[in-house]
């Protein structure tokens, strides 16, 4: 194998390229991302186990008001997860987190979905002023993973509610079929990093954690190991195909589809289509499209054609989002340009739990192999 990170190269099978720092190409020019995906997919035989798994959720949730939580963003994956939970006669509590950037489309989809399926909903609205201060701080810190804030809070909200209602299963729309590619290590950051959020918030916005729901390594251990709450990539139990899922949602719940992934949240859209490519040289569509290629949902030729198009489908929409971003963050265009031109700084520069997490993972592996060795 030749590690070719210094020369620009695109994988011959998917469309991942050397903008991913940990990409390795084999002699056929195939990369480790799609190879790993195939291995993982072959190991995923979950969809033979669906009925067994559903039974287990029902038994564990017997006599409780709800037997599972489904987090809904308004996007296809999470909406489909909720639909499937209800169709399999589970009794889910739908949970939504509002970070002040919800799109109308998202609200509309959630509304149609829960009204049709007659599911209870819990919305956690994060205080916008506080959230803005954290977002601003993350921007000024020049770190790549600004969405760490959303992802971290979302985990916290889901686990806390599961705990409150004594629910043992959180079913998420994460899935190998459309999100099974490992995210390149330089494209995002460790998501349980509450310390990183605290440090950056304090340093750049003088913002303490007041109402922001954070999720740390210890929270993870507490909820997963002590409270035994499981986070499940529910769609792996199905032969998940995005296009078919959209059609089914459209027919059954009046779902409206998005032009591209993550259009349910205006910040996520602007972040992925403007900030990431312009400031960090990262185009996340490569990851999603490669994923679709490898799960036979799109051809490589088609994906290459899509990737040539600009991240924003039209310039008018880009301008509208940009103006909205500036209004919400209270920046002007000059400040944004200055930000875009500044160099990236790594998350761990500001203090992080990643090292702690990595150490714990190694310890856990050692304990496991020790147990295996002595057949404990």
């Amino acid at each position: 194998m030749i590690n070719n990170i210094f020369k620009y190269q695109v994988c011959n099978r998917c469309i991942m390229d050397s903008t991913a720092i940990d990409i390795i190409f084999n002699s056929n020019g195939f990369c480790n991302f799609c190879s790993d995906f195939l291995t993982a997919q072959n190991n995923n035989n979950n969809y033979n186990n669906l009925s067994k798994f559903i039974e287990k959720i029902k038994i564990d949730g017997k006599n409780k008001k709800y037997d599972c939580i489904v987090g809904v963003s308004g996007g296809v994956d999470s909406c489909f997860a909720l639909l499937k939970a209800v169709e399999n006669n589970l009794r889910p509590l739908a949970v939504h987190m509002d970070n002040g950037w919800n799109s109308e489309l998202a609200q509309n989809n959630i509304s149609n979905l829960i009204r049709t399926l007659k599911v209870d909903l819990h919305t956690h609205v994060i205080n916008w002023e506080e959230y803005r201060n954290f977002q601003k701080a993350f921007l000024e810190a020049n770190v790549i993973d600004i969405e760490l804030l959303y992802d971290n809070a979302m985990m916290s909200v889901n686990y806390r509610l599961a705990n409150k209602f004594s629910i043992k299963y959180i079913l998420s729309g994460n899935n190998t079929s459309t999100e099974g590619f490992k995210i390149p290590s330089n494209w995002s950051w460790f998501k349980n990093d509450a310390k990183n959020i605290k440090k950056i918030g304090k340093k750049f916005s003088n913002q303490e954690i007041n109402t922001f729901p954070t999720f740390s390594t210890f929270n993870f251990i507490y909820y997963q190991m002590i409270k035994k709450i499981k986070w499940i990539s529910f769609l792996n139990y199905f032969n998940y195909n995005k296009e078919k899922a959209i059609k089914e949602l459209e027919e059954k719940t009046n779902f409206k589809k998005y032009p591209y992934k993550h259009y349910e949240n205006i910040f996520t859209r602007f972040y992925q289509a403007y900030i990431l490519p312009k400031k960090f040289g990262v185009d996340k569509r490569k990851l999603h499209l490669s994923n679709l290629i490898m799960s036979n949902q799109i051809s490589r030729t088609e994906a290459l054609k899509i990737i040539q198009q600009p991240c924003y489908p039209d310039i008018h929409e880009e301008r509208k989002d940009l103006e909205y971003f500036l209004k919400k963050i209270k920046w002007d265009k000059e400040k944004l340009n200055e930000y875009i031109s500044q160099k990236e700084i790594y998350h761990n520069f500001y203090g992080s739990e990643k090292h702690l997490w990595d150490t714990l993972v190694i310890i856990n592996q050692k304990i496991k192999s020790f147990k295996n060795f002595f057949k404990i």
């Binding site: 939504h96 509002d98 002040g100 950037w101 919800n102 799109s103 109308e104 609200q107 509309n108 959630i110 509304s111 829960i114 209870d120 909903l121 819990h122 919305t123 609205v125 205080n127 916008w128 002023e129 909205y324 209004k327 919400k328």
Partner: protein, 252 residues
């Protein structure tokens, strides 16, 4: 005849969007700009924004926030809260507000209605009153700033507002506000004369059927809605929704 309107009414406190119940127990709803943007995309007929701090604190208006709200709202936007003089009204019109709502100021200065109405036309002024009911279900005029009954005859007060040039009348039913308990059109029986200007009612709307009942009431020209468009289900989950007149016709 103009079509009857369905109007989301949004409350701002400390520059945050809140929702109250019977003018108490404020619940945080989120960023007003984003919520206005969602209602805008849902093509609401109009939107009313009330800054409930300003009349109490006497602070000047937060024009920057109001301007940002107006820039996300392509339908008529009404602003109310803390307006004491025509200069403030002028400034509000210049930053994109279409109608001014006056409430407590009308207790001692009805001239403000006349001034705005003369300069900008009566269609740009909404006179609002808050009404509550006593132990014997008798409706009385309520001063929400002092949180008590005000010794004015409701019908006389309404007549005064109209004669000074108000273009619309908004009646807030305090005992209904935020309760999702349903609005009964009989509540309007306290009015002793036909209101000559469009009447907006606000308080308690809790279902599509309830909206339809109100729309078919001859006296009502528009319905103000808060909780029903903001909350969903037993946990009062924040979920912005809207129902247009058109949706109701399709639903029939």
């Amino acid at each position: 005849m103009l079509k009857k309107r369905i109007i989301p009414i949004l409350l701002i406190k400390n520059n945050e969007l809140v929702k109250s119940t019977k003018y108490k127990d404020y619940n945080y709803i989120g960023d007003p700009i984003n919520v206005i943007k969602i209602f805008n995309e849902k093509k609401a007929d109009e939107i009313v924004v009330l800054d409930i701090d300003k009349s109490i604190t006497g602070e000047d208006l937060n024009y920057e926030l109001i301007k940002n709200l107006a820039s996300e709202c392509f339908m008529p936007l009404t602003y109310g809260g803390g307006i004491k003089n025509i200069q403030q009204a002028e400034k509000l019109f210049s930053i994109g507000i279409e109608k001014i709502l006056l409430n407590s100021v009308n207790f001692n200065n009805l001239n403000l209605i006349s001034q705005i109405s003369k300069k900008f036309g009566s269609q740009s002024v909404i006179a609002a009153i808050d009404v509550n009911k006593n132990f014997f279900n008798k409706i009385y005029l309520f001063d929400w700033i002092k949180n008590k009954r005000i010794n004015l005859d409701i019908n006389q007060h309404v007549e005064n507002c109209i004669s000074h040039g108000a273009g619309e009348l908004l009646i807030n039913f305090v005992f209904k506000e935020g309760t999702l308990s349903g609005f009964e059109t009989e509540l309007l029986d306290f009015l002793e004369f036909n209101i000559s200007i469009p009447l907006i009612i606000n308080g308690g709307i809790n279902s599509i059927t309830n909206i339809q009942e109100c729309l078919s009431c001859r006296k009502i020209d528009a319905i103000g809605i808060g909780s029903f468009f903001i909350y969903y289900g037993p946990y009062r989950a924040v979920l912005i929704s809207y129902v247009s007149n058109k949706d109701l016709l399709i639903g029939k």
